[in-house]
Symmetry: C2
Subunit: 440 residues, 2 copies
């Protein structure tokens, strides 16, 4: 039996009309057997997500204040959907239980998880499928880290032999029974774990965009959709700020080599973006997959005679940042000079101590901090080396009169990271995107 | 009293005519008081340096063979010079002592040092200055490393109060009295130490070229001479293969901020190249100081999901190279990828073990070795950042149809290092040099 795990995000579940679209999508392919749901999201710009209502309720509960209004709004949202999709389901009891639980023990993760819980129950009734409460199948350890092995075993045990099921996203439980939510990646991680546990041949991630864009649409006008990219390209673009799947959500399916398909619930006819373990060898339609970047970075630049004489100096420098718990984003060592790229917000609080440590331990000839930088990356899995395409891209930026402060292009495929001042960030992204389009 | 330490290299002392040029140079400026000499070098292309004759003699001595012919040729060279410069000095006794010593104990460093020793004695007689045997003033420790503190003290004690002196270069002695030669930098280091100990305001390094060239003359036709460069630029160009002063020779004068002047004994009218602690602020005649490069490099390229999540991965990787005693030349960490540039000859013998260690300790997603690479650097102390000049330079290389495999430009000033295949090395250097000339 073909198996697809399909995860639907908050906007895909915002109201009854969206629920109906989801059902249509699921019925369109019998392989869509395991359905993972988020909590209902915004119906319109100024709307409030169910999860945000739950946070408000919890904040009032822990402050000893009345949170009936919030619970009332949540109940109304679910009842509204139930009515619209013709499901006879009363939420009075469920909402009452949540309220009483929060009064007895205002526990944050429990409160936060109830949106997915209720949404999953409702969707299961709507689809006529069994509901799986992930509290019984997504396992965290005592330190609140996901226990992958236990999770896959529990999910397999719970889902084996079922033709289909609806699973609530976003949470699981710890060995002590307490609800635990994912700190990063949310329901996307649940979906990826279910896809892995059920040996799905595809993990569909239904959202409100028709796939991943080659650049940030807030910066570039109507950027192209990327039809296919590799896990690695996704990680890089996601790391650099492209708002797509979180790394944590990619790991489980990547481990099993399951492709991901990002789809648009509102435009199911669009093919969306495929994320695959390896790009097909003949995939040379476009050399460059996308451009993304991050602001808020600083560079600590250390100069010392013959840094490159051995690994010692660099190792000591990296250790200093590690000891201060400031992870570095990039490290470039040349002759006599090392540039360490770090997040400005993490650096700011520890700046004086880190610089003092560097002076004390390394007696550098020069120690500079360059601030207000942004880093921009251009990835292209199928472009070997930094050949003339790299130069083309750099030229496109330079032709805009933008100063490039750092250039980092390692061996292998196109992996270019350039540093520009934050004030040049948007212009540089635009210039790179246009250059990519020209070379396509 | 103004004080200059002047060091003369082997070709400046190859025969009587060269000795006369040296004397003229010294007499032309009374500040040239402390004179450091190498051993006589080649008089013509197929000639043999005195030091190479000494190596041959030692090799025969240690093999128990007769080395009279070598000692005869050495004696003839010195007697030839003495006769030509009108100095009445017999070498029979000195050469006899060296021969008997080598028979009794064929000790390599002793043999090697005798060229400078004899040359120093002859030059002292010629100039009418006292001779200082560095065995009494250049101090090494038990591990054969230079003891800078003891050396500066001994040199000061030996030279204080003298109007001038001739010092033999290249060697000193260990605490046990044995002669010890410099493993790197040779007589240039002696000269720098003498300059520091005598508080010279200038360290002149007399050779057979009119200063440092902006590129390798074997690759580029008649490159320009660099009029002034910083210690740091010198180190970088020297590290990258420009045949100038060794780093070890720069350290002592750099510590004291003494400028170096590289001069041509055969063209004393040329100003040569000045090497200074810091470039004068108004020195903007040329943006780029020079281009240099090295072949015989490899890149180990490691890919692993979210390398940049913390300092751990890079530190472990650098440790592996350190443990195998393969110093890295460059380290570029990006997102998911690290490129380590290393010398191919050092890597070759340990390749299998290093790659196994990387696989065992880091389980990388991708592990590639790129070989037969060369690295080319362009330095320009007064160029801030990698602005459009960097792009210009990269474009010049790309326009030659040369693939650039790695690009490393850290923060701060122009510090560009690019990797190209060895077969493209000469063309890339030429292209960069011409681009530099165009922007000058």
């Amino acid at each position: 039996m073909r198996t697809i795990t399909a995860k639907f995000g908050g906007t895909s579940l915002a109201d009854a009309a969206q629920f109906k679209k989801v059902k249509d999508i699921i019925l369109a392919d019998p392989a869509r057997r395991f359905i993972v749901v988020s909590a209902p999201g915004k119906r319109f710009e100024s709307d409030v997500k169910v999860t945000d209502l739950l946070i408000s309720a919890w904040e009032k509960a822990i402050a000893g204040q009345n949170f009936d209004p919030e619970m009332g709004r949540i109940r109304a949202r679910f009842e509204d959907i139930a009515r619209g999709i013709g499901v006879d389901m009363a939420f009075e009891e469920e909402i009452g239980l949540i309220s009483r639980s929060l009064e007895a023990m205002p526990y944050r993760d429990y409160a936060l998880s109830r949106g997915e819980y209720l949404c999953g129950k409702l969707m299961a009734r709507f689809l006529g499928l069994p509901f799986l409460d992930p509290a019984r199948a997504i396992c965290f350890d005592r330190e609140a880290a996901l226990d992958e092995e236990a999770t896959l075993e529990a999910l397999s045990r719970a889902l084996d032999g079922l033709d289909g099921a609806v699973i609530a996203g976003f949470y699981g439980s710890r060995p002590d029974g307490a609800i635990q939510t994912f700190s990063r990646g949310g329901s996307d991680v649940t979906g990826a774990l279910v896809a892995q546990a059920t040996c799905s041949e595809l993990y569909e991630n239904w959202t409100d965009v028709s796939g991943m864009l080659a650049a940030d649409p807030r910066v570039v006008d109507a950027p192209d959709t990327v039809d296919v990219l590799s896990y690695r390209e996704l990680r890089i673009l996601s790391y650099m700020g492209a708002s797509v799947l979180h790394t944590d959500a990619v790991k489980p399916v990547q481990n099993s080599g399951i492709p991901i398909n990002i789809r648009n619930t509102n435009r199911p006819e669009d093919a969306g973006t495929y994320i695959v373990p390896h790009l097909p060898a003949d995939h040379s339609r476009r050399a460059v997959t996308g451009v993304a970047g991050r602001k808020g970075l600083s560079v600590v630049q250390v100069e010392k005679s013959m840094v490159s004489d051995g690994a010692g100096f660099t190792a000591v420098l990296l250790d200093i940042f590690k000891n201060h718990r400031v992870p570095f984003e990039q490290c470039l060592t040349g002759i006599d000079t090392i540039s360490i790229v770090i997040r400005s917000d993490l650096f700011a609080r520890k700046r004086a101590r880190i610089l003092k440590d560097i002076r004390d331990k390394l007696s550098p000839d020069v120690l500079n901090v360059h601030e207000n930088l942004s880093m921009i990356t251009v990835v292209g899995e199928n472009v070997a080396g930094a050949d003339d395409l790299t130069v083309c891209l750099l030229l496109a930026v330079a032709n805009e009169g933008i100063n490039i402060s750092t250039i980092n292009q390692g061996a292998g495929r196109l992996n270019l990271i350039i540093g520009v001042h934050e004030s040049d960030y948007e212009r540089a992204i635009k210039a790179l995107y246009l250059a990519i389009k020209r070379t396509a």
